[in-house]
Symmetry: C2
Subunit: 242 residues, 2 copies
DNA sequence: TGTCCACGTAGACGATTGTATACCTGATGC
DNA sequence: GCATCAGGTATACAATCGTCTACGTGGACA
């Protein structure tokens, strides 16, 4: 009775091939929200119409637009998070080794390559899921407290993943776990803006990519400089220019 | 004919004391948008009702909600920008001097004090204009291209101001104007998130303030480390812990 | 004194909205 | 073989919406 929003039963049961109503509604909502307006301000009838369904069908699957939004975010959010983790693991298996900063020049060069790889990864994902990204960020600062919390949770989760992965690959000297997490959260949030620019200014994509890399390196440089500045003197020449 | 949105004539002409319709509408829209929904999804009648005016009065002053939004942003945006500039000038007159980094320890300490002052400034402003800030950030990633551009322009303008002011106060070694501008833009954008946290988590305000200061210092550390790492070795002890 | 004009009001229009009630259908379980 | 039920439909209703046309002010200005 109070238990609503039937948690995606349709997906569990069907072989997940047929678009089956619920999916149609989510896709319609995504398309409409990306091109027209915010999720919360979408019309129930509008979405149903765009999905080719009867308005009342909406109630069969969702009780709210918050409900629908959370469902969409669960789906795409876990996809993003898993994609990022997997892709972050890939270079570690291929060519990367644990980079010990006892050889600063080499370690920092690897850090740069890793930053470049990660930035490209995120921006590619954003390009591939333009609609979902647009809507998601809209909700990040949007009206619905439910969606805001959910989006913030997703971003924080990504930051936690990134921290763990980085701890496995990089061995930063004297940078604590908490410090690294704080840096990761800052990076994730900044990537929100870089991604926006990337989508909105296709002609500047190469520049934006470089700016994002540079920002990340700057943060790590700063973190290291605060703890072990002597390591940086040797690697000065390696820092990318402007 | 095509020239619409009469640019605030009502304000110019009246002694600016009487709330005079146009102002009432803007205030009503601000309150409703802050508590209810996005600007673009507001009802024309709803706003007029909340302002105690006839629905059609809206047309006398604005043609759009974009129109109203831009008017509000002009008003509050210039207030914010001027307030920040003025407040950034204040410490320079009182106690601060041009900090030459030829004496690194002292210069970095001053940079830290300046970062603390600036962060406090922004967060105070956000607290004082909670509604406007909330609505503005909503529009930053919102549906209306007009409002998005306007908000992005405001943030970039603040970044430009900050760059100029910093160039006048700090003398960073070997950090070019463009680099400093890029850093300023990143800081401004990150402050959007810090401000959100600050408003949404009153119990963590002190922590958030410190995190923001630390982030800014980290960036400057990084920028300096990339150019003149030898300067940092001497100042290592001054960096704030965690 | 007469005439604009900016500002605000009044009433009405068709369109669209969210939601309630009722009916249909195919699969599932006993 | 029959009941149950999730998924989808049809119809209807009051409420709200944006916008149109028309009218009423008070002050500015000639």
């Amino acid at each position: 009775m109070a238990k609503n929003s039937d948690g995606g039963r349709g997906q569990d049961r069907t072989p997940e091939r047929v678009p089956s109503g619920r999916q149609k509604l989510m896709e319609a909502a995504l398309e409409l929200a990306a091109t027209t307006r915010s999720l919360a301000s979408l019309g129930l009838r509008e979405v149903a119409r765009h999905a080719g369904l009867n308005p009342n069908t909406f109630y069969r699957h969702f009780k709210d637009f918050d409900d629908l939004g959370v469902a969409m975010l669960d789906e795409l959010g876990t996809e993003l998070r898993a994609g990022l983790r997997e892709a972050r693991m890939r270079p570690a298996q291929e060519g990367f080794k644990l980079s010990d900063f006892s050889n600063p020049a080499e370690g920092l060069a690897q850090a740069q390559a890793l930053a470049r790889e990660s930035v490209g990864l995120v921006l590619d994902f954003v390009m591939d899921h333009r609609e979902a990204y647009t809507v998601g960020i809209r909700e990040l600062h949007g009206t619905s407290p439910v969606m805001r919390k959910a989006m913030q949770g997703l971003l924080d989760g990504i930051a936690v993943d990134m921290t763990e992965d980085l701890l496995g690959v990089l061995m930063l000297p004297a940078v604590s776990h908490e410090e690294l997490l704080a840096v990761a959260r800052v990076i994730v949030r900044q990537m929100v803006f870089f991604s926006m620019d990337y989508l909105e200014q296709p002609s500047r994509q190469a520049d934006i990519k470089r700016e994002a890399e540079r920002f990340i390196l700057l943060l790590f440089w700063g973190a290291i400089a605060a703890r072990a500045p002597e390591l940086l003197a040797a690697a000065k020449l390696k820092f990318p220019t402007i």
